[in-house]
């Protein structure tokens, strides 16, 4: 069975959930081989959990290079040449997309970007914010595929996890240098694109202060907080939480839209959510066209009441 290379996304000794999704998805194509690129000692911390998620092999490339992303590209490119894998899987993130694109250029491989499902026949894209489903495939060997986080349910599986050290090849061309990093200071809420519940506020929230109504409901559900473009543009909530065409695409189990009218802009970022709840004063708001349950009313009355009901049920 052919190998499938999976790039491990890790930060300070922790593996991102999206990597386990890749290891699960990879099994549809062949035997998953995890590829760890990082500072010395990184792989030792990650190996056990990679095995528990089905990694048959773990390629370890440890380096103290300050070159930006090119070590990852170089390691993957040389593994593609040496191992002739069935595919290379990388999670969609700013870095992941960039590594994938560069790798495809170097190995002259088809690039299948931002897919939501992977099979032996090809991949599935959800295009224009879920308005279209497209089946696509590469016309080359070893396609480079980036998988959207949250698309695949993680299934743990025992893998042999045989470790093999691989060198980091010398950089091709010139690379940018990382002079320093500041990790994002995450709050206690789950990451927007990984959360199973998202509560978002729109223009109807009316002010930055009033966004605490959205946050309070989100916290009662253990949810991430999102915002529509209108809310972000009005300065109610920071841009990093924007859901929509020019923001994040989310696909949670439950999406609660508070005071969001539901312009195409916004729907493109959330309409593939499993269940959608909408609260809006305007009975004609387009958000109701896609909501599984809609309440025409004042979000400042409905949201706190819902929060209290949830608290009651939690006892």
């Amino acid at each position: 069975m052919a190998e499938v290379l999976v790039l491990v996304d890790h930060l300070e000794g922790e593996i991102k959930k999206s990597t386990f999704e890749l290891l699960t998805a990879a099994r549809a194509l062949g035997e998953p081989s995890a590829v760890v690129v990082g500072a010395a000692g990184t792989a030792a911390k990650l190996a056990d959990v990679l095995k528990e998620h089905g990694a048959e092999k773990i390629y370890v490339a440890e380096t103290d290079s300050t070159d930006f992303l090119t070590p990852e590209v170089g390691v993957l490119a040389s593994l593609v040449e040496a191992k002739d894998p069935a595919a290379v899987l990388i999670a969609v993130s700013a870095d992941g997309k960039e590594i994938a694109g560069r790798l495809a250029v170097r190995t002259n491989s088809g690039l299948l970007g931002d897919v939501v499902a992977v099979s032996a026949d090809g991949v599935t894209h959800s295009v224009f914010g879920g308005a279209y489903i497209a089946e696509a495939k590469a016309t080359t060997a070893h396609p480079v595929i980036t998988l959207r986080p949250g698309s695949v349910e993680i299934e743990p599986a025992a893998g042999a996890g045989v470790e093999e050290s691989v060198p980091v090849p010398a950089s091709q061309g010139r690379a940018a240098t990382v002079t320093s990093r500041e990790p994002i200071v995450g709050g206690d809420r789950p990451e927007l694109t990984e959360a199973s519940v998202v509560v978002s506020g729109g223009r109807g929230v009316g002010s930055a202060d009033d966004f605490q109504v959205v946050e309070a409901l989100a916290d009662s559900l253990g949810a991430a907080v999102g915002a529509s473009r209108a809310a972000v543009d009005s300065g109610y909530y920071p841009h990093q939480f924007q859901v929509g065409q020019t923001g994040k695409t989310v696909s949670p189990q439950l999406y609660i839209a508070l005071g969001i009218s539901g312009a195409i802009q916004h729907r493109a970022g959330m309409q593939t959510s499993k269940t959608i709840i909408a609260v809006n004063k305007d009975a004609e708001a387009p958000i109701f066209e896609i909501a599984d349950f809609g309440v025409v009313g004042d979000l400042f009355k409905v949201a706190p009441q819902l929060k209290d009901e949830i608290a009651k049920r939690k006892g």
Partner: protein, 261 residues
């Protein structure tokens, strides 16, 4: 300092977008086309660098004839000249082919370049990798998702902001920079700018002019293809109630029934 800005005309995200049922490519006629918002920020960043360091700003685009509108917008903002790679044979090119074609055309820009500036992500394709891919083809450093760009002598530094945090990058010129949404507020073209844009040189290149082998681009030899595409059946609305003081409780009851809480 000579700067080339890569721009792309995309369907307006506020209009409904479609795919061609025949070959799975973007139906560019079905939607309003606009200069991608992020490209305006790329043009603005290039103009600010030019104002600080002198030189020339060239706009480069690849796309159908009507991409001329996007070029005019960039020229009316203040870019000096434009190159438009336009050829029927480009239709359906994949990201790898596009990056290689853009890299080839960059090599033909008169006066050369010290810096290539692009938007970090187009709103239609969202592969978000073309700037870095172009850099890879050319063997140049890529400094992506810039919140701030500074050029000092022959060194470019970027504050890169993504969901995963902030990275400070530096590289020697020439280099490729992609800018993020928060880098600046693009200027509006002045009336004078709009009038001046009409006289600015726009060079339209065919594949042959650019020295690109037609077999290296286009749908027939793309490294990835769309096998089928269909509109997803629209999600239909479910129950809608008027809040009569118990709206929150009713939502809770619905969520319980759906086993969501």
């Amino acid at each position: 300092m000579n700067i080339v800005v890569l721009v792309k005309q995309v369907p307006d995200t506020y209009s409904e977008r479609k795919l061609n049922s025949s070959d799975g490519t973007l139906d560019r006629d079905a939607t309003d086309a606009v200069l991608d918002e992020i490209n305006e920020r790329a043009v603005e960043a290039a103009l600010q660098l030019k104002e600080a360091h002198d030189g020339e700003v060239t706009v480069l685009t690849m796309g159908p004839a009507r991409a001329t509108d996007a070029i005019r917008k960039a020229l009316s903002m203040g870019a000096d000249k434009a190159v438009h790679l336009s050829d029927e044979a480009l239709h359906g090119s994949c990201a790898v082919q596009t990056a290689k074609a853009l890299a080839t055309v960059l090599g033909t820009v008169e006066g050369g370049f010290d810096l290539v500036v692009a938007g970090n992500e187009a709103s239609d394709g969202r592969s978000a990798a073309v700037p870095a891919m172009v850099a890879d083809v050319l063997g140049l450093p890529a400094l992506t998702h810039a919140r701030e760009v500074t050029v000092d002598g022959s060194t470019v530094t970027v504050r890169r902001e993504t969901d995963d945090g902030v990275t400070h990058l530096s590289a020697e010129l020439p280099a490729v920079v992609s800018v993020g949404e928060k880098i600046n507020e693009p200027r509006y073209p002045s009336f004078k700018g709009i009038m001046a844009a009409k006289k600015k040189p726009v060079v339209t290149l065919s594949l042959a002019d650019a020295g690109i082998d037609p077999s290296e681009v286009g749908l027939a030899t793309a490294l990835s293809t769309v096998a089928s595409s269909q509109p997803k059946p629209p999600k239909s609305g479910g129950e809608k109630i008027e809040d009569e003081g118990d709206g929150g409780a009713k939502v809770a009851a619905f969520l319980v029934a759906q086993k969501l809480i």
